[in-house]
Symmetry: C2
Subunit: 424 residues, 2 copies
């Protein structure tokens, strides 16, 4: 068997130009010591091929392998006073594709994740309806179901960055997001079952947890694409995502996706609850506030390289990758800049953008150790283009917490390490 | 607040006809005791609304809630001599949508699930290539990536049913399947990097486990849509699914999706290895065997109601649901029969079928306690129609283990319980 580690004829694929030298280079690292010696396939520890592994009785419900123990949700201790009213960020820097497994999907609670049995679950629809109704879990399972993949983004995602580069890592700047395949009943189906009266213009949705997290939603949206969901990625919702039932409000801020949903009241006017007045409004420069800013505008972030995912390999081929999404429809294009927004290259979308779902993008490129100011810029089917932080500040000032969809910058240094920075 | 449990004007949606009486009926069950008494929203135990729940520090990697403790992979003890060479079936009877979470996705090993560190991983491409190459995990991450959702089905799925109705539950008859979003590098990219010589007509793919599970794959398929995958549903492959890297062979039998993939040799002829001669061939009535039966033909199964998912609610609206798939392309239609195949109704596909991926179907119907012989029948974009068991037996006899894609029958009794039966 001949294994060559260095010379090799040029690749036939133009976009792999340069791969060879690099791959050869990387392999030289692995192979150099072995060149005249042992088989390069044999590494120090090969127990796996010498004996047998785990039986199927050991994994009734499987967990990630121990080597991936750092790919977990993380909270930021100083961010909130208490963990029951806090955030656990998705490890987006370490994921690929678009699906977020439930086990590491962002969670946010206002009074902790509660344990609500299906048998104890009730969903009431009342208010301006022909017939107030109370559904058990079993009742819900008897209505026609829908299946759809949507992203959920907290309105506060990237909120710390209004004041400048703060949190060092895509998990913390952009990890209040997840993307799952939901199965459930269209909210429209249930509202039609109760019969919405003509004067019903809003629904007020309430959870069963102590915070109740009540939110008002215009009837048009409630009758459009909202889902009373009981499964995510095929299986039951996790406790921290609202088991047994949560509301899905495609493209709209995560706080409206009421968990452990208990009651939906049809109303003539909005409630103006705590969660939509003291919170989830955007304070402008002059002290007035924007409210009802429900839709999550187009946004993107490079997930790798990034501060938690530095370049560890040598020069040459580099895959730059990230996520893009829009609450107004499908992502149509993502551009990537290496020089802080002076010049842009169009990235490759792994698949055509789907409405209100995460889109994975890749830029297959070369890196020879030059510093980069990496940015990504999303465009959606409405023609909207993700703005810079300064463009947002001009309009909205720096008093906001929510709805920061600005372009993010990672400063990638010559050693491959990356830092969260701001460029002007 | 008025909550009415009985009378209610008819629904405006034709296909919900009959829902009302039933929903009211079900609600009467919950509400009857409360009718003159306490608020129907209040059940015995409401701790969840009285106090706070878990903080975000408790779920760095989350697991299903305790109430879903029965939604797990299961093995069948008498099926194999040892659990290291056995099967753990997906709980498809309890899932919805199409994605299978890794934690409950079917696993099959030939010598147990091994623990292979990324640092120790090597992938060699050798044989009839211009330049034999050895890739580290890090090397693979530098090539352009693809993302795609595919089903994996074991060739032996439903194999026990050749001899008649055997295993009582969709998990056991059809649970050797999963459906995940894969991210990785196209095998074509790596083969082109090595340069396949004109005489190279096959690849022989080998895993790092003791069994090695070597399989021969025609070069056309290897250069078509195969993926060297390192992520499934966004995160690293689980140990039991081949961490850190497995081969994805869209639409083809699961045994070819070599786990812990270690070597790919380009060859002029097939190896005719143990896994493709003594196994994974189909013995016909006359004792001769079909071989190279790689593609998984169109198939479907009703997942609910089914033996493990009986009808527990009263008469009236019933959602019949299941999964359909084809290794030859997209599912275009699924029909459901309640009378063992005498008459058929066309089911609703939750979303348009995707090539070589699971498709969820629903039949929104009425059930008034009559016995049903429930069947589903899939059609794919090639025009192929899923056959009955007897049609398959006529051609293939009853000596086979693999490639049983026959129509499955569940006998649903008046009490809602279901059993695996055979109808002729």
């Amino acid at each position: 068997m001949t294994v060559r580690f260095t010379s090799k004829k040029p690749s036939r694929r133009a976009f792999l130009k340069g791969t060879l030298a690099s791959t050869a280079g990387v392999m030289a690292g692995a192979g150099a010591a072995n060149a005249a010696g042992p088989d390069p396939l044999i590494t120090e520890k090969q127990d796996w091929a010498m004996g047998t592994g785990d039986g199927v009785d050991e994994t009734p419900y499987g967990l990630p392998i121990q080597f991936e123990g750092d790919v977990i949700r993380r909270n930021v201790e100083w961010l909130t006073a208490d963990t029951i009213s806090s955030i656990n960020f998705s490890p987006i820097h370490a994921l690929d594709g678009t699906i977020t497994p439930q086990g590491c999907a962002f969670e946010r609670h206002h009074s902790g994740a509660i344990e609500l049995r299906k048998e104890d679950f009730r969903l009431m629809i009342n208010g301006l309806v022909d017939t107030p109704l109370v559904f058990t879990y079993e009742d819900l399972e008897r209505f026609p179901r829908v299946n759809k993949t949507f992203f959920l983004e907290c309105a506060a995602n990237t909120g710390m960055e209004w004041a400048g580069a703060q949190l060092n890592g895509a998990q913390f700047t952009h990890g209040m997001i997840h993307n799952m395949e939901y199965s459930g009943v269209s909210l429209r189906t249930l509202l039609e079952e109760a019969g919405v009266k003509p004067e019903g213009k809003w629904v007020y949705v309430e959870g069963a947890d102590a915070s109740s997290n009540g939110r008002s939603i215009p009837i048009e949206k409630a009758l459009d694409d909202c889902i009373i969901a009981f499964k995510a990625n095929g299986e039951a919702l996790r406790k921290e995502h609202g088991y047994p039932v949560r509301l899905v409000v495609p493209g709209w801020e995560g706080n409206m996706w009421v968990k452990w949903v208990r009651r939906i009241e049809v109303k003539e006017i909005a409630v103006e609850s705590r969660e939509e007045t003291s919170k989830y409004t955007d304070t402008l420069e002059d002290g007035t506030a924007r409210k009802w800013t429900w839709v999550m505008d187009a946004k993107s972030v490079v997930t790798s390289p990034s501060p938690q995912s530095p370049i560890k390999h040598g020069h040459g081929p580099l895959v730059i990758t990230g996520l893009a999404w829009s609450g107004r429809g499908a992502i149509t294009r993502v551009d990537v800049s290496k020089d802080g927004g002076k010049t842009w290259e169009t990235a490759r979308l792994a698949n055509p953008g789907q409405p209100m779902a995460l889109t994975r993008f890749y830029l297959d490129t070369e890196w020879n150790g030059e510093e980069m100011y990496l940015q990504s810029r999303a465009m959606d089917e409405t023609g909207y283009v993700q703005p810079t932080k300064n463009m947002l500040r001009e309009i909205r000032g720096e008093n906001s917490v929510y709805h920061n969809n600005c372009i993010q910058t990672w400063w990638v240094k010559a050693d491959g390490e990356a830092e969260n920075v701001e460029v002007s």
